[in-house]
């Protein structure tokens, strides 16, 4: 203390300054965390809404019913002119995948929904990964996270009837004309008898970045080599025919898809997953996805993977599609909730991550 004029002071304004400074910082933190703005859509709200049909501990909050698969991607090298990602150089990249049904019920009958999904995690050298989640439909119903949330709210089961209220559902779709292409498709879509015969589309757009740093807007899909869907057909009364079909087919040999990259032309929408790109856009066959084995999802290596579609290697970037960050944020909430449930139910079957972690 060198200034003799400075005495301890207990004037109220001095206390007020301290309280104000501390309080303002705490309030800013609460605001950024979303606690002061419950009307602002958050990842927690989306996942809470996905759980409206009931919580199934340990399971994904969406696409809850599924099966793990493993194999590799054999790159043709054809996409390496558009993306510098090492996964597109000629050669093999190991893959852990997962087939699933959309929806939060892990016991839903396979015929209850005409959509199947396919998630992949490519393990690249040097700690890089590429994760993608694809669906067997040509477009996504909605374009924004808010519309997705509103759709979940509008289609949630009415507690009185156990079914969605047709009035609310109708009002939602009437208010959202962007759902038109999806509704037109789903009207004629039928539940497939096999996971293996489906084409799966990454409905969101991404950018490939080539070695010169040039960005190319793309969408990708995997198209199956198997196309014998009509022959087998789901067995009446069996709600789990997809897993059995997969098991049988893999017992006969690996199953193959081609990874096709569609290149956008200027003006094609990248921020709207409800709009398909014109059919004449050039596509590249980037290589063959080979699935060799399947594992039950409650103990297989895909169980503890969060198939966040924004986990990308250098050479692939997200587009301005607003669904992508929302998927990332909401998947992280779902992933924490289900792994926490695993941790709190130590009797639950454990994943077998053998030879699974990149290292």
């Amino acid at each position: 203390m060198t200034d003799p004029s400075l005495q301890p002071s207990r004037q109220p304004w001095r206390w007020a300054v301290i309280a104000l400074a501390v309080g303002a910082l705490a309030a800013a933190f609460a605001y950024v965390g979303g606690w002061l703005t419950p009307q602002r859509l958050s990842s927690r709200q989306i996942v809470n809404q996905l759980q409206q049909g009931g919580v199934h501990p340990g399971f994904r909050r969406n696409h809850a019913k599924g099966v793990c698969v493993a194999g590799y991607f054999e790159s043709s090298g054809a996409a390496s002119a558009y993306s510098k990602a090492s996964v597109f150089a000629p050669g093999r990249t190991p893959v852990i995948g997962r087939f699933a049904l959309p929806g939060g019920n892990p016991y839903a009958p396979d015929s209850s929904v005409p959509i199947r999904s396919f998630a992949l995690r490519f393990t690249l050298p040097h700690g890089e990964q590429w994760r993608t989640g694809m669906n067997s439909m040509p477009v996504f119903p909605v374009a924004t996270p808010q519309a997705f949330y509103d759709q979940l709210v509008a289609t949630q089961p009415d507690p009185a009837t156990g079914k969605p209220d047709p009035k609310r559902v109708g009002a939602f779709f009437a208010a959202h004309p962007e759902t038109g292409p999806f509704l037109a498709w789903v009207k004629t879509a039928k539940p497939s008898a096999s996971y293996v015969t489906e084409t799966y589309e990454a409905l969101n757009a991404f950018y490939f970045v080539d070695a010169e740093g040039k960005r190319h807007a793309v969408r990708w899909e995997v198209t199956p080599e198997a196309n014998d869907d009509a022959g087998t057909g789901p067995q009446a009364g069996d709600p789990d025919y997809l897993a059995k079909d997969l098991q049988q087919r893999l017992a006969q040999g690996p199953q193959r898809w081609h990874l096709r990259i569609t290149l956008a032309e200027p003006g094609d929408p990248t921020a709207d997953a409800t709009k398909a790109w014109p059919a004449d856009r050039p596509t590249i066959d980037a290589g063959t996805l080979v699935i060799e084995s399947e594992q039950a999802q409650d103990s297989g290596p895909c169980r503890d993977i969060n198939y966040d579609p924004t986990v990308l290697p250098a050479g692939i970037e997200i587009s301005d599609d607003p669904l992508l960050p929302a998927r990332s944020s909401a998947y992280a909430v779902s992933y924490l909730r289900r792994t926490r449930e695993e941790a709190h139910f130590p009797g639950a079957p454990r994943a077998n991550p053998s030879s699974e972690h990149p290292q």
Binding site: R14, V22, L25, G33, E128, D304, P322, L336
Partner: protein
């Protein structure tokens, strides 16, 4: 009435002050980035996430440097007339801050490892996993990361409140020791009582 505080001499070393204010900015940024990115579903989620990891690595390295600076240039003593309980709180909260600055980045790194995530510091620069892939371990570490971050935020709030209490209420020179110490405070370090010997000290006491 003479309530003047006992002499409070000394200030933090300029390097310690630089590191303190640099890290204050980085840590507050980090806390807001963290709490924002897990909540938002907007495009902000992506760049906040991309910022969070290299920022965490930077804070960890700076905290190590700062610990070295603190050991090399010990901080000035607290005012002699501070109540013992207040002194204890001051010391305990500072070590808590150091513990959190160092542990939060490590818990984050371990958590991403256990979740099987790539640990990207930007571009294709990746850290190796600290732990094997295990969802249960991920869940524990993810929760620990959250609650340790809350604890860090509350400790920072307390730290800020205490600094303002020193600066506005006690006015005892603690706040200037980390901001703009008067010239006098920098030079008038309490001389260590040296038992006179036949030889003068060969080096300055500072």
């Amino acid at each position: 009435m003479n309530t003047r505080h006992a002499s409070y001499a000394g200030a933090f070393h300029p390097l310690a002050r630089l590191l303190h204010w640099l890290m204050a900015v980085l840590i507050l940024t980090m806390l807001f980035v963290g709490v924002g990115m897990v909540s938002t579903v907007s495009e902000k989620h992506e760049w906040l996430l991309a910022l969070h990891k290299p920022l965490g690595a930077a804070i960890f390295l700076l905290a190590l440097i700062r610990l070295g600076v603190r050991l090399r240039y010990p901080p000035p003593p607290l005012p002699a007339d501070m109540p013992a309980i207040m002194k204890f709180a001051a010391h305990a909260s500072h070590w808590l801050l150091y513990a959190l600055m160092l542990s939060l980045p490590l818990v984050g790194w371990a958590m991403l490892s256990a979740g099987g995530y790539p640990i990207s510091l930007g571009g294709s620069l990746h850290l190796p996993p600290l732990l094997p892939f295990n969802g249960e371990v991920f869940a524990w570490l993810r929760e620990a990361h959250r609650y340790l971050a809350y604890l860090l935020f509350f400790t920072v709030l307390g730290h800020m409140g205490a600094a303002l209490y020193h600066g506005l209420i006690r006015r005892d020179g603690v706040l200037p020791s980390m901001t703009f110490p008067s010239k006098n405070e920098i030079v008038t370090v309490e001389p260590v009582v040296v038992v006179p010997t036949s030889e003068p000290p060969s080096a300055p006491l500072l």
